[in-house]
Structures are given as C-alpha cells and as structure tokens.
Symmetry: C2
Subunit: 306 residues, 2 copies
C-alpha cells in the first residue's frame, strides 16, 4: 500500500529531499542551495523538476513537502493549521498541488501551524514537521522542544499534539549585537572556535543579570576593565544570548529538552541546558524525514479506513 | 565664602554650562554641540576657552565639570569612585586640573562612579551628578531613579548615597531592531509622532511575553495578520522595548520612580511607569546644575572645617 515517498524540506535558504522506503528508512538524500529566497514567483515547478524530476520519474510515486514552500511567497499557500496540532491534524490539512500550480506530479504541501497568546499570533512552517518527527522517533507523548536558529522555535507538546509555541529572535539578536551595536567595536572580526569557559560564563551571567539589555553591557565593561580577552568575547556574547533565551522560557521542573538542529548551534544549546541541570536529546534533519513519512502514513491510513 | 560657580556637563555629544549663584540659582546657560567625540586629544582646553573663557574671566571664580570629560579619552582621567557614593564621596574624589592639563583656571572634574555585581563591573560618568542633584532637589534620602537613553542608567539610592546601578542598552536595542533587524522591512521609514495606544499595547505585551527576543517577533506577526497599522509599529516597538526595561527591573513595591532626562524620552518612560501603577517625578538638566552646586558646597564646607 505505502510506496516510496519523496520527502522535501524546502525552506528559505535550502532545498533538501530524501527518498524514504515504506518503513521510513532513508534510501537517498539530496540538498541544494535553492531556498525559497532564490526563486522567482512561478519558478518553483522548474526548480523542483531540475533537482528531483528524475526521482519522481523512476523512484518515488508521490512527494510531500514542508517549509516555506507553503507560504504566501512559496509555490502555493497552505493555510496555517491552528494549535493544538498533531500528525492527524497536519494530515487532514494537506494542500495537494494541481495543474494550476504548473505540475502534474503527485505532490502535496504540509501546512504550517499557528497559535495565539495575549492577542498576538505566532507561526511556524517546516519546524512542526521536525517536532512531530522527533516525537515519533522518541515514541513520546509529551515534550519541550527547541529548534535553535535565527528565529528559534520553542514548542510544548502534550498528548502528541503541539499545544503552543514561541518564536524567539535569539540568532538575530546575536547578529545585531555582534555586527551593529557598540559591542562590535570591542569584538574581534572573526568568531573563532567556541571558548567553552567564556560561553559558560555568559550563560551564567544571563541568569544573574536583569535581562539581556543589561547583560549585554557587560561585554563592554569586562573589556574596559580587561577582565575578558577579546578572543573570548564572541563566545561570551553567544552564552549571554542563549542564556537569556533559556532564562525566559518556563523550564522550571523540566528534566529534558529536545533540541533539533544542525550540530554547531545545537551543541551550544545542549551545553547551556546541561549547565542549568536539564538533560538533552538531539535530532538533525532525520526528524524532518520521519515527520513527513509519519504524515504520509496517516494519509494512507485514512484512505484505508474509507 | 561661596562664589559664582561655572557648572559644566561635558558629555559624549554635547557641552553644556551654567553660571550658578551662591544659592545654586541659574544665572545664565550655554550649550554647544562640542561633545567629547568631536574633540581631538589635547584639544579640550582650547574648546573650553572658546566657549566659556569669557565667563571664567569675568563672572565665575571656579568651574566644576562632570561627564565623559573625565574619562580616559577626555580632558583628564578622573578615576571612578566606587559605590556606595554620595555627595561627600564625590567631593572627596575631585580631580583638579593643573598646568599639565594646559590650563591655569580653577577647574576640577567630578569622578564617575563604579559598582560590581556577579563579577561584572558597571560604570557611569555624568549621570551620578544628575542623580545626586535630583535627590537634593527632592530632599529625599531613598529613591529609585532612571536616566533613559541609548544606554539607560538605573540607580538605587539609600541614605542619600547611590548603592548600586545598572546600565540597560534599551535605546540601542530599539535602534538595532528599528534599523537593522528583519522588523525594519515592516516598519515605515519615519517614526512619526507617538501613537499612545500602540505604545501602551507594546508595554503590555512586553509584560505578557517571555522576554524581548520573543516579544519583538510580534511586530512581524501582527503585520503578517494585519492587526497593527504600519504607522503604529514604531510606537508599538518603542513600547515593547521600554516595557521590557521595566519588566526586568526590581520595581515590585516601588511607588515612585524619578525620571531624569529630555522630555521626549522621559514622557514615554513616565507613560509606561504609570501604566504599571508607579508614580513619577521628572527632572531635566537642572538636576546636573544642582548636583554640581551641591558638590561644590561640600568642598567649601570641608575647607571651612579645617
């Protein structure tokens, strides 16, 4: 019944795909730097064909896509699915592409999800698949998860559904402070390798200070009083920002956080979380493949019940 | 005994002076855009003479200066006076200029102050005089004070001495988000006049959200869902940043905060504090004149006791 699936994670900066066998195992993978931001309106079909047309001709019978490809500026807009959202909710809100989208392939786009707090909406696209995929791999019902990045996503899952989530602009704040603030004058031109002690000190000070707007000034005063070597400052600032991110999350009583992302940043989050006495489980791109495979399985099961 | 005093507030961006009679009343005032950042090393004496030499020739017998003029890059470095610091402590740490500084005038520079928390030093230069001046005008022993700005200073005073203070980079964070972040794409080119409702909403959301790095993202989502007019967004963002500044201060139980600064920003702080149920007393440049006059009086009293 279930055939080979082409799973696609098409985000702002990258286009990644994997061929998955009926058990969810990865048969083959490809990644190209053709993120949504590089594609002209109307150009998605052609880019997809040039990079994955051969697989759709011979190896996969259908394709499921997640990420910014489903945004207003993407291939076709897949309206947000409101929280709480689990695999069944996602499977019930797929957007199948039609001839109007310029393709005759069996392709469907997974919706992003939305939530609201204090009258303010929040949204994600692509991360929800990784979150649900990681949960499926963990075989867990409840979890707190983070996907670190320019705009980190923090999610709370209960009963296998994403109940709420928050976007935290920590990666962008780091870049703003690093490149455009008064601190940029003190910092060396390159970040260099991570200085673990300086990073840990930054995490610790984030919890001792009264917020990042105050804590950040310590980069300047520690430099003024020559108490921190210039080469250690980028690591210290990174610790301040990630420490602030943890400080502002309701993590009291949490024994474990699931971290999903590329190793460089995920390692820093793991280090900061462990300093705060919180255990970590980590996942990479395999979480996206698992999530898309699990959604496709739900779709197939629904069809089977009819 | 006490004669006419030339009080000078020489900061990074401006040079201001006032002639004060023996009772501290302002006889005359001048301000020029010759802040420390515009002056070459060794050039302070000449700039002072060209703008205040006539007053020192005929109207004032001595001059007391506060601000960045006493920093390492200033006219002469006046070492920081450690907290707790009151008028007597400042008066005991004046730096009189000598011929080595290129002047024969009776000029002394007031020291900045320093404090330390969690192994991290903090410093101010010029604000301490305004804080102590405002206290003298209020005839108060204890207070919480803020000097809003690019780098706001928050101070706690007990027994007429500054016990501790914090630098909060809120003005700079606003500028970074306004000009260099992803939010800049959504915001209109000019800030326009303050939209009070949008500002209040920003302050409120800062307290509801989990930190500024999360709250700032609401500018983007409110725009995406068309729930906030573009013209209102700069005021909303200003409310988010000032709200975060208040949220991170230990203001519980505080009935009043003293706000010292220029009207445009001080009005916003007053508005935000009142929304949080905290009363406000406001002061402008008169706080600096009063502080310098009060220090001079201490110096004269010490001499009188000998």
């Amino acid at each position: 019944m279930t055939d080979t699936l082409l799973a696609i994670d098409w985000g702002s900066s990258a286009l990644r795909g994997a061929l998955l066998d009926p058990s969810g195992r990865v048969i083959d993978e490809r990644a190209v730097a053709r993120g949504m931001l590089t594609i002209q309106p109307g150009g998605f079909g052609e880019v997809f064909e040039s990079h994955f047309g051969d697989w759709m001709d011979s190896r996969a019978t259908r394709c499921l896509m997640a990420g910014m490809v489903g945004s207003r500026q993407g291939w076709a807009e897949a309206p947000y699915c409101p929280c709480p959202a689990g695999l069944d909710d996602i499977a019930a809100h797929l957007l199948p592409l039609t001839a109007a989208a310029g393709t005759t392939r069996r392709i469907a786009i997974v919706p992003g999800i939305s939530c609201e707090r204090d009258g303010v909406p929040d949204v994600m696209r692509g991360e929800e698949i990784k979150i649900l995929g990681a949960l499926d791999l963990l075989d867990a019902d409840d979890a707190t998860l983070v996907l670190p990045g320019t705009h980190s996503k923090w999610a709370t899952v209960a009963g296998r559904r994403i109940r709420s989530f928050s976007t935290v602009m920590s990666g962008e704040f780091y870049a703003l402070l690093r490149q455009h603030s008064i601190l940029a004058r003190t910092l060396p031109p390159d970040d260099g390798v991570l200085d673990g002690d300086a990073f840990d000190r930054g995490v610790g000070h984030a919890f001792a200070a009264g917020g990042l707007m105050q804590a950040a000034f310590s980069v300047r005063t520690l430099a003024l009083f020559e108490r921190l070597a210039p080469a250690a400052m980028p690591s210290y600032l990174s610790g301040l920002v990630i420490g602030e991110e943890l400080r502002c999350r309701p993590l009291e009583g949490r024994r474990e956080v699931v971290v999903i992302g590329a190793p460089v940043l995920a390692e820093r989050f793991e280090r900061a979380l462990r300093q705060r006495g919180i255990g970590v489980r980590r996942f990479g791109e395999e979480a996206a493949w698992r999530g898309l495979w699990a959604v496709q399985r739900r779709v197939d099961q629904r069809k089977g019940h009819r």
